[in-house]
Symmetry: C2
Subunit: 226 residues, 2 copies
């Protein structure tokens, strides 16, 4: 029975990591689509989102099944509840990739215009946060999870610079308002991706520490501050 | 033991409803603050958000305690998992109220300007969705929950009208770009509030039907279509 349970847990871990890999791939596509203002790739992201949705449902059903069948306690119970919540975050990351894709279809019509902001730098940071939060889950690596928390503030600052740049471009280019609104929204979707990665990292820390650190009340260790 | 368990479930139900009431109150404040461009009320919303955060942590801890202690199965297990997820949605609704509050501090500086869009109509609908989704949870009323799903499309349409209005205002008023961006973002925060209410309604339906209806694959009954 205990062996059977361990096998089920290993399956769930594999499932959530597959979903994580799929979501990472979709974010990667969204970032390439921003850089190239590639409407075809954007359409692909929208078309394939059902895959993420289906996997999310499967992961949750599997967790409920294992909870009902094996009635785990302590760390195993906490792990399963963390997976249910992380699963939810991953599905929403997929939704943000879709949101970005919708914005790109507008940008693609005016490829001659500038991006007014270094999206690749922001995107690269967000992508690293997502990867690190998933690695933190697999390795149960608390240090890595805390690093993700620290990076979230950096992404917030990048979002503010994007806001300033685009706002001033709007005052000058009244013929490109739709284009610029969509650029602004992309910076906000990227920032939301970072928020979801942060939520995952917080769940991992909670899982390790057994303490709820959400809502910024947990002090970030000095060694992780920059 | 069974009696003790029923008492614990009743406590959790009471806790999630208290959190729901608090979140409803905070959304109400945000809506009044939009209408009056009231920076003081906006500051209150931001200052009091910790109350929602604390209650969210308490609800989750209570659910984990009951799961570990009583190892419920079937409908009780599903109920507790639904509460953990709805709890999360409620906390994020609180965050959206805070997001709106941040936008209002910008609007308050230019009270002489128009709102360019009927925010009260959109806000009233969103508020009703939130109330209905919580009522659906208390009463386990599936019809009510389906009505929330149908209203979400209406809110999406309102968001699009807001976009059109504000976009054209931006082309004309290049001196009010910051103000207009913040108006645009408010319409998006309201739409996100509606999304969270929809997520709650979907959890309630899942709880009743034992089927995952997320991702729009569940047909909405004809009687609920408008």
């Amino acid at each position: 029975m205990a062996k059977h349970f361990q096998r089920e847990l290993a399956t769930i871990k594999r499932m959530i990591l597959s979903l994580g890999a799929l979501v990472e791939e979709r974010v990667r596509m969204a970032i390439v689509a921003i850089e190239n203002r590639d409407a075809d790739m954007a359409r692909q992201i929208i078309k394939l989102d059902y895959e993420i949705d289906e996997m999310e449902v499967e992961v949750e059903e599997q967790c409920l099944k294992v909870l009902a069948l094996h009635q785990p306690v302590a760390v195993d119970l906490r792990f399963l509840v963390a997976v249910i919540k992380i699963n939810n975050e991953l599905e929403r990351i997929g939704d943000e990739a879709v949101n970005i894709a919708h914005r790109i279809s507008v940008l693609a019509k005016r490829k001659s215009l500038d991006l007014f902001f270094d999206y690749s730098g922001m995107a690269e940071k967000v992508q690293r946060m997502l990867k690190m939060s998933l690695d933190a889950l697999v390795e149960l690596d608390e240090t890595l999870a805390f690093q993700v928390l620290a990076m979230d503030d950096e992404v917030d600052e990048l979002k503010s610079s994007a806001y300033d740049r685009i706002k001033s471009a709007m005052s000058e280019k009244s013929d490109a308002i739709g284009y610029l609104i969509n650029l602004l929204l992309i910076s906000r979707h990227l920032e939301r991706l970072a928020d979801h990665a942060t939520n995952i990292a917080e769940e991992v820390i909670y899982l390790i520490e057994g303490e709820i650190i959400r809502h910024g009340k947990y002090p970030i260790p000095d060694k992780l501050r920059r």
